[in-house]
Point group: C3
Chain length 196, copies 3
């Protein structure tokens, strides 16, 4: 598997995981199947769409609608098996940490490709990683998880993006910076989950 | 009356009806007159504005501010007569079904005119029909009606847009597909209201 | 100090004040330091960003990231001294009236520079002044202050923008219209605070 193919697989994986968390929130709000798909797609694509609108790009799911299919399948799976997934919510949180790491690195990469300066790169990493989950919780009228004290959700995204910006300033190659970004985000978020 | 003129009248009618539902939500939240106008305009234009931002178009009310006037008049009417309209909330729900049908067809039509593929056309029909109401309920801190179980609100929008996409795939003319889209959305939503 | 420099200072002052109100909301929601910065930046830039997205412009903070630094500093100050600032909430409300006046005038000025007609100019004044605060309260799950009855928040923004539009229609110079806009917004909001 080439590097580009690997990145594609990771992107779809992040979409699927975010969609699962969205569908679980829809389950808690007792929505119907289309509501599941709606919140799942919003969670999976919300952060990247906001990033693309601000940077005046075409949102990814407009040019690659397969992303919508992935989110829909994830929503249907939760609709059919929500009672089993809820007891595995803890497992899902760990998967969500992986998705967060991928999304932050994707946001940083897109902002860099658009020629943005480091403050905007930082913000775009956080926006891509966190705004989908924020929209999910606002729509479902829950207290936003990404802002809750003790979760350190946005903090992990910020730290990961900061590492990428720092490494680039030191002359590191792009792929090293993005890999380190994802790694730091993942380790910090996992640590936050492990330590409670 | 020509077809284009009829469509124009229907568009303004949908704006006015969505604005009425927004102003009634403002009434429940005990806002002042400018708050009424604010929520009414947000409800009436929110879905179409989001669609246009994603498709990188100028929002309709920027090029045709008469839409803002229609929403404002609707808000003032509710401000003056809210006590009478609330007892007619049931009647308003039926009007809202008509507005939803028009908005979904409008969203599908705009996405088709922009050359989008069918998954994006589907999403734009749902976004145009449902996001204004979602913004209304998020701003007024109510549980979003469009996502409530049993309302089937998004489901009706989805089904209507799906019919349009299906007919187009079968080679139907654009106006037939859009009329069928509005018709199916209206009938399903009316059925959902009638059956409770 | 030249006029342009004065306007620059006023813009940064408005960003800092809005960021302070955002950070105080984060304090009430018991977020962590990054949550403080997040809500502060959202409050400070949300209205202008929405305006720029609708008008298809690059948001100000993308081309001038110093705005993010100002919001961050304001958030850190509140994080360190929130207990003292809360007892001075009343003083902050008066500062917020100043920020509102600046932001409404800025929104009106940007819409005029983009060649918009008066209805869109009115809306952009209100959007720039009020949507940041609305996003703050939606994200922190509070009842939106800008829509609360008796606050007249949106009303003050509307009146200020209306005065600018009226003066321009009467042939006044741009800087007179914008100064009057800010003055009227400030006086009305201050009156609303003093009387109620």
């Amino acid at each position: 598997m080439t590097g580009a193919a690997l990145i594609g697989v990771l992107d779809y994986a992040a979409v699927a995981i975010f969609a699962l968390t969205g569908a679980l929130a829809a389950s808690r709000s007792q929505l119907d199947i289309v509501g599941f798909i709606f919140v799942a797609a919003l969670t999976a694509t919300g952060g990247g769409t906001l990033r693309d609108i601000i940077l005046d790009r075409v949102p990814l799911w407009v040019s690659d609608p397969a992303i919508l299919a992935v989110a829909t399948v994830a929503a249907v799976v939760v609709f059919l098996f929500a009672h089993r997934l809820e007891s595995r919510y803890r497992a899902l949180e760990w998967l969500d940490a992986v998705a967060l790491a991928i999304a932050v690195a994707a946001g940083v990469g897109v902002a860099l490709a658009a020629g943005m300066g480091w403050p905007v790169v930082l913000v775009m990493g956080m926006v891509t990683g966190c705004m989908g989950g924020l929209m999910r919780d606002v729509v479902c009228n829950e207290v936003p998880l990404v802002l809750k004290q003790g979760e350190l959700y946005v903090t992990c995204a910020f730290a990961g993006a900061l590492v990428a910006v720092g490494l680039l300033a030191l002359g590191a190659a792009g792929w090293i910076a993005l890999t380190a970004c994802a790694g730091v985000t993942l380790v910090l978020r996992a640590g936050s989950l492990a330590l409670g």
